[in-house]
Amino acid sequence: MISRRDFIKIACLTPLALKLEAKELTSKNSPSLKEALYYQKLDEKKKTVWCLLCPRACTLSDGETGFCRARKNIKGKLYSLGYASPCATHVDPIEKKPFFNVLPETLSFSIASAGCNLRCKFCQNWQISQVSPLETVNSFSPPEKIVSMARTNRCKSIAYTYTEPTNFYEYMLETAKIAHSKGILNVSHSNGYINQEPLKELSKYLDAVNIDLKGFNSAFYNKLCEAELEPVLETIKILKKSGVWVEITNLVIPGHNDDTGMITHMCEWIRKDVGADVPVHFSRFFPMYKMTGISPTPVSTLERAREIALKAGLHYPYIGNVAGHPGENTYCPECRKTLIRRAGYNILENNLKNGKCKFCGGKIGGIWMV
């Protein structure tokens, strides 16, 4: 028999205990905090910090979150909100990233935490790119767990994709290190809006990157993405210099970046400053996110863009989002025979042998073996 006093004690404490337990459960679901790399403390007293990860160079006061919504100043220290808190983890064919010259017919373990340092009006993954990791439902997945899941699902690579991986830089970097140690490749799809120093560090562990070269003038980047072109061009050059395999995606939006002059200019720059072996994916645009009242890209525009690329001397121009189009195939730049025939993400025919053309023996750019 318990005393009246004990009974009251238990009756009051139990709900309190339950509430605490509930709180603990909540904090387990909330993103874990990891101190960010690449930032500077500006003012010890005012606790302001200066983020140095991307060209935005946000100056943040205590409690403020950066433009990307994924890095926050908490009492004078900058933290990455999305570390080990991905909102998306999936197994996708590597062709979806898109990578056409990297390990065809293999699976890629794809992850993302919420946030992005651009504001593209045509974003496909806006639901997670235009919000903070605090607003998404995340699974707690430390870097080791990601690598382990990749192996369980027989993925040859881990893809940092969907949103902008730059804003979960620390998570990406640590996972990439572990992945390499286990013989898993690291691939990423990025907008290229990252500063040189963090990029060079990351390049040590990245094997392939697809950069969205959204348009080839600043006006386009300003108007539709609230960003600048130059940093993206620098990123592409640095990646190439670092030996990372680069593929470029150009989403062709009618009336905005489909101009022949712009496309020619872009292809010539790629050929001269990056290399003829860089695949370029000219993708068909369909109404997306805020751009709802627009016609899709005419297939003839994409065909024209591909012709321009070939003329400029690029070896692997592709047409994306037009299932079954011959522009989806990989052709040998030497003998012009079909090396890889595709329909969407599916490989129908593969005429590569050890990274060389089966017909003429010419070396084909890409990553064909682990």
């Binding site: 909102c87 998306a88 999936h90 197994v91 064919p93 993302a112 009006k121 496909q124 993954n125 806006w126 639901q127 997670i128 235009q130 919000v131 998404t136 969907y162 108007k223 539709l224 009618p254 009336g255 905005h256 369909f286 109404p287 996110y289 805020k290 751009m291 709802t292 009242g293 627009i294 016609s295 899709p296 005419p298 297939v299 003839s300 525009t301 989002n321 037009v322 299932a323 079954g324 189009h325 329909a343 969407g344 993400y345 599916n346 490989i347 129908l348």
Partner: protein, 766 residues
Amino acid sequence: MNKKTLYYFISSLLIIGLGGIVAQTILLREMLILFSGNEFSIGVIIGSWVVWEAIGAFIGGKWNRKIKEDTGMFLSLIILFSISFPLSVYLTRIFKILTGIPPEMGVGIIPILYSSFFILLPTGFLHGFLFTFSCSLHNQITGEGSSSIGKVYFYEMFGTIIGGILVNFLFIPYFNSFQIAIGVALLSAITCLFLIPSFHTTRGRLALIFTFIILVSSFTLLVGKGAERIHLLSIKEQWQNKNVISYENSFYQNIVVIQNENQYTFFSDGIPVITTPVPDIAFVEEFAHFPLLSQQSPETILVLSGGAGGLINEILKYRTVKRIDYVEIDALLLKTIKKFSTPITQKELVDPRVNLHYLDGRIFIKETPVKYDVVLLGLPPPHTLQSNRFFTEEFFHGIKNILKDKGILALTLTGSLAYYSKELKNLNVCILHTLGKVFAYRVVIPGDLNLFMVSDSEEISHISPALLHDRLNTHKIKTNLISLTHLKYRLHERWQNWFFNSLKDIETPLNRDFSPRGLFYNIAYYNLLFSPSLKTIFDRAKSINLSSIILFIIIIFVSFLLLQRKYKKISIPFAIATTGFSAMIFELILLFSFQIFYGYVFYEIGLLITTFMGGMAIGSLIITSHFRHIHKELRLFKVTEIAITAFSFSLFLLFYYLDFISSFKSIYIHILFLFLLFLSGFLTGIEFPIANRIYLRQSGVLNPNNGDSIGKTVGMLYSVDLSGGWVGGIIGGLILLPILGISAGCIMLAILKLSSLLLLMTFPEK
């Protein structure tokens, strides 16, 4: 003042009524193209018009006129209105350029609010101002005192009815917006001309000059090519250098065709719906082949919307298919596609196996004697009360009735292959559960567009990549995307598991005809695209129920009870506001319910709206002409309030015992709807003139010489009436009906009117 002048004055009132409804209709349609509208934005745009009318009416009432019989001012107002209408059309078209928004960009509800507010300012304000001004002027001309209000209300309403019929049946299908606006200006100018000669002030002469200018210029623009040219120029600016090769209107929608290189894109109200010659290959192949390959030998197929441009072409590849019924509500879309045909569309629309039907899909499924192997619902997720009718439990039952034993229904819904936000989860769960209530088996193929396939036959849950691929080969069908690898990828259990896991903790009510929850969830999702800051409002609104609404009404009642201590007569404006609110909701409920029973047929809708407004006009006329015989207006007013309360309650009973009513013969239900619409309009129409009369009598100023009081009173009451209607329109269509459902909505109205009746008891009796 002779009779002739009075007649000219009355005809100008008719023109004002006509001009108002024409302007409202045309500007609403133009703005829907501009903003790619849904039910919420429709409510907001109409709301902006109503707000400006209310403000205009209020100020018009307070307007201090020193000149007697100020017909000159009246004419100036009409002239200003007739100029502002075409200018507003132009402003709407160039609005995105002015504000620097790219023409392809959708906008959120807040920009829609302030832009519609801005665009509708001149026309709405002037129209409201004209109403109250006309009441005082009528009184000055005829000396009829408070009866003027009822009479002017009647004449304007009559003009509104005529204008409503003309604009929808005659103007829109045959003339462009500028021709219509300039035509209204011409009509107004002619009417003004007749009013001027009886008048000799400087103002009158000025009005004469302006009237002539308007008359001549509008005539020239209409008869010559001027209006056409302005129209084409403004379209070019609106679409900002896109190659617009066709621009046509039907009752249902605006269809624009843009040509880019060899591609045609067909836009419906500013949204692209079909692209030729090369469609979205992945979409048309998957939407056609997944359902058809899930059938052993598909023979009869029904496509409800979205068939042309690639989908039907895929279906035609099956040699076993003997019949395709393709239903589109609007003949204009297919007529335009035929006009700009490409190899695929030519094949689709000419093949003898394809039968085209131009009517509402819900009527078609009721009437068709055919049983189908596969039904494809090619509509986007519900964005209006009208389109929600194709995603409800009742509709799915209707489909079940026309499916063969192993028949399949397939539809698509917004989805994701990365992440499900709460809003997206709610939308998918709602429709999925509704489908699950009707069909025993389901298959979900998650994607950026989720493909749902449902059937009462177990066979559908046994489909596999190997089986589908086998059948593809048996049928000898060539596709670009569908291959064994692709089928394995799309049907992989990994996606199924992730999809159902993402949705597992979500519970939503079903989507039903009279409880359109699906609409609410879709609008809440769509809102995320443009106004994510409003997310919380939608989240909270989700959990509104009848008890919280009743509590809210009680709070309002008590507040007004307290206010009554200071403003003794406040119960009358409160009654008028709540009647305005109720009238809007009655109209919404009855129109919407009619569509559930009979489908969306444009001339029927016109008839129904006319009946409602006719009821209002006749109500106000009868009351006004019997004012002499009525001495206890307050008692009559209270009786009307009781009648409206009883009406709300009977509507509730009607919808509660809906199954019983549905068993009646169709023609009787039809008559019932017309009667109910007329009655609700009638009761509303009676209240307004009585309210004015009571108010004036209470102020001791029934004297017809006191034009100022007439103006002030009608200004205040009219604006209150409109405000009630505005709240009803926005909240009713978007939140109350989709969340509460119709029966609960009627109870809410009954309680609201009961509260206003109770408040009326506090009205001071002299």
